[in-house]
Amino acid sequence: MAEVLFFLASLGALAGAIGVVAVRNPFYSVLALVGHLLSLAALFLLLRAEFVAAAQVVVYAGAVMVLYVFVVAYIGGEDRPIGGPGPSFPSVAPLFAIALFVELCVATLGSGLKAIDGEGAPYVAGFGSPAQIGELFLTRFLLPFEVASYLLLIAAVGAVILARRRRGLEDEASADRMPVSVGDLFRPEPGVGTQAESVGVLADQRARAARQQDEGW
């Protein structure tokens, strides 16, 4: 049973991965990735990582992919040919990939660790449960946990800086109304949404002030 599930899930994951790389339309790439992620979540479940699997579905397939879709929609998923003019090497890219794959396989298969050939450590109740993960996060991995949350804050700030609208940078015609900032999408998580918002407000105010002073960027 587990073998079949594994087979199916990994097939899905690989297919999704190949889809991401091989499909020309970015939008379909995103969809392929969603498929990939879901398959991966299944694999996680097989590995008894319930919480990770859940987070995978919620955060990735849910939040992050939505962001992707937004941006793809905004940019307009132009079809860029794979390869095409440019550096002449891409023909060897698959070789690189194969070499990498072979090396990693050799590393794992050639390892003297017996456990790799086994099915894993004996299952202990509660392994991979939210409770266990939560405990780890609050004890041994307290600092990473805090730092990770902080990282999210900073990423939000960074995204705001980058994606904020500025006068003179973009074509006036295309300046449709956009979300105040892509960082808004993260508002619930780190809980600093006001920050992002006010930054956006500030940007508008500054833009207005700049206009009044007529300095003309």
Binding site: L104, T108, E135, L142, L143, V160, V199, L202
Partner: protein, 531 residues
């Protein structure tokens, strides 16, 4: 089973706390509408936060402990590096005072990012856990990706940001995979556990799984320290990023990555040293050659410094390779020296970028010796020091590195350092030659001299310097009429000159009286408990 909250050593954590609180405060301050708050208070607060972290790190000097359940090490090595990050960041803040990138991004945000990057470095340098390593690395990288791109008006800035992001993420992913393999081999993420596992089971240190993991780690970390052949992002990003960011990135990222390097390799993976040391020595040599060779004939000073940093990374790798106390001491000392001389050089580049129409082209410093010796001297000292000339800090730094290499039977690596230095002379001397041996180019520099001597201009205009200069946007020069007084007052840039002079002087002083710093470096070297 009731989980017990881990004991937290607040004193040890204090630098981290300072750097966590700092960005928040700065971010808040950046929301104030008054110009003066954003322009003056934000940098001051940033400097205060950095100063606090610096002071707290110094306060924690001499401690040797592991805090927050073994996540972070508080020892002389991490404290030493903390000081370096803070000093580099303070210099970057000062250099960025009039920079358009901070303006673009918003002062609060820009400085918050800077502080976050410093936090990431502190975390990375002290990390004693694979998870923390990865997080620290990302925490320092992500703000930098953004900061590289903050000069949004220049397409090169965006380009550099994107390149850094993508190539950097590939590097991170590689590193991550390596971490995963190490974890898989050792079964734990803590350094102590890994070292114990490797020490316990002799076969594990030469197991393909471990070694492939190490290989991926080498690639990831070498990417961060920009050692060849993982260096290619460096020139492009250095050139494209706003110069104060480049300065910070050059000195601090390298220090942080090397901090992680020594801790990871010389503590956790030291039992596999016989396997990884020769490879690192080869990477060091390749870096030395590639970096120095690539720097030849560059006309962009930032690009030149980037290539030079590739070479310098190669020199410093020697300190990792030898994996003993002397090696760490040499590495740490060199990191400090590298910081001092690079900041001096970048300060001059910043100053000239704003003063001339040549940007960071080497022509911007032509004839500097005659026109602005206060800038020419720091640059000269920095170049001499980078080249390893005596009486500068770089000489002592190279001396210690070669000494450490020879001591551990890597004499050939010492020779490689020496040969690299020979090649490097060609481009360092070119900069010096441009400053002292050639005349300023015929094209008039951007500050307008029409009003007479530059001295007159600046003395009459000092009070309004802050305001008028701030409105002066980045290159290219836009207004012929309105920009003039601002440009003239920019001609002096006292804070940039001060940084240049201070760090130039430090280059000289550290070359003549290196003992205190060497003492500190020795303590830092002992922190790892190596031979």
């Amino acid at each position: 089973m009731t989980p017990h909250a881990p004991h937290i050593d607040w004193a040890g954590l204090s630098p981290v706390i300072a750097l966590t609180v700092g960005p928040i405060v700065v971010l808040m301050a950046g929301l104030f509408r008054r110009e003066v708050v954003r322009r003056a208070v934000v940098p001051v607060l940033t400097v205060v936060a950095l100063g606090a972290a610096l002071g707290l790190s110094v306060w924690q000097w001499g401690e040797d402990k592991s805090i927050v359940s073994g996540a972070l090490a508080v020892d002389d090595l991490s404290m030493f590096l903390n000081v370096l990050f803070c000093v580099g960041a303070i210099a970057a803040v000062v250099l960025a005072l009039r920079d358009s990138s901070a303006e673009e991004a918003g002062h609060g945000e820009w400085h918050a990012l800077l502080l976050s990057a410093v936090l990431g470095m502190v975390v990375l340098a002290g990390a004693e856990n694979l998870v923390v390593v990865f997080l620290g690395l990302e925490l320092l990288s992500i703000p930098l990706y953004v900061m590289c791109a903050t000069n949004l008006r220049r397409s090169t800035s965006l380009e550099s940001g994107l390149k850094y992001l993508i190539v950097g993420s590939v590097g991170s992913a590689t590193l991550l995979y390596g971490l995963a393999l190490i974890y898989g081999a050792a079964g734990t993420t803590s350094f102590g556990g890994i070292a114990a596992a490797l020490g316990r089971d002799g076969g594990l240190a030469s197991d393909p799984l471990t070694l492939t993991g190490i290989g991926l780690l080498v690639a990831g970390l070498c990417f961060k320290v920009s050692a060849a052949p993982f260096h290619q992002w460096t020139p492009d990003v250095y050139e494209g990023a706003p110069t104060p960011v480049t300065a910070f990135m050059a000195v601090a990222t390298k220090a942080a990555a090397f901090g992680a390097f020594v801790r990871l390799f010389d503590v956790a993976l030291v039992d596999a040293a016989t396997n990884w040391a020769p490879l690192l020595a080869v990477v060091a040599t390749v870096s030395i050659v590639v970096g120095n060779v690539g720097a030849l004939g560059q006309s962009s000073l930032k690009r030149l410094m980037a290539w030079s940093s590739v070479a310098q990374a190669g020199y410093m790798l020697a300190g990792v390779v030898v994996a003993d106390e002397a090696g760490v001491r040499a590495l740490v000392f060199y990191l400090a020296v590298y910081l001092v001389m690079n900041i001096a050089a970048f300060a001059v580049i910043v100053a000239r970028e704003r003063e001339t129409a040549f940007g960071d082209d080497i022509r911007s410093v032509a004839g500097l010796g005659a026109s602005r010796p206060e800038l020419a001297w720091p640059m000269t000292l920095a170049m001499l020091s980078l080249a390893g000339m005596p009486a500068t800090a770089g000489f002592v730094g190279k001396f210690t590195l070669i000494s450490a290499s020879v001591q551990n039977d890597y004499a050939w690596l010492g020779i490689a350092i020496v040969i690299g230095s020979m090649i490097s002379l060609a481009y360092y001397l070119r900069v010096i030659a441009a400053m002292w041996l050639t005349d300023a180019p015929a094209v008039a520099p951007r500050p307008v001299m029409a009003g007479g001597s530059p001295e007159l201009d600046s003395t009459g205009d000092d009070s309004s310097a802050g305001d008028s200069s701030a409105r002066e946007p980045g290159p290219p020069a836009n207004g012929s009429g309105e920009g003039e007084p601002g440009a003239a007052s920019l001609g002096r840039q006292p804070e940039v000159v001060a940084v240049a002079v201070a760090f130039g002087a430090a280059t000289l002083v550290l070359g003549i009286v290196p003992s205190p710093l060497l003492h500190a470096a020795r303590d830092a070297g002992r922190a790892l408990g190596l031979l």
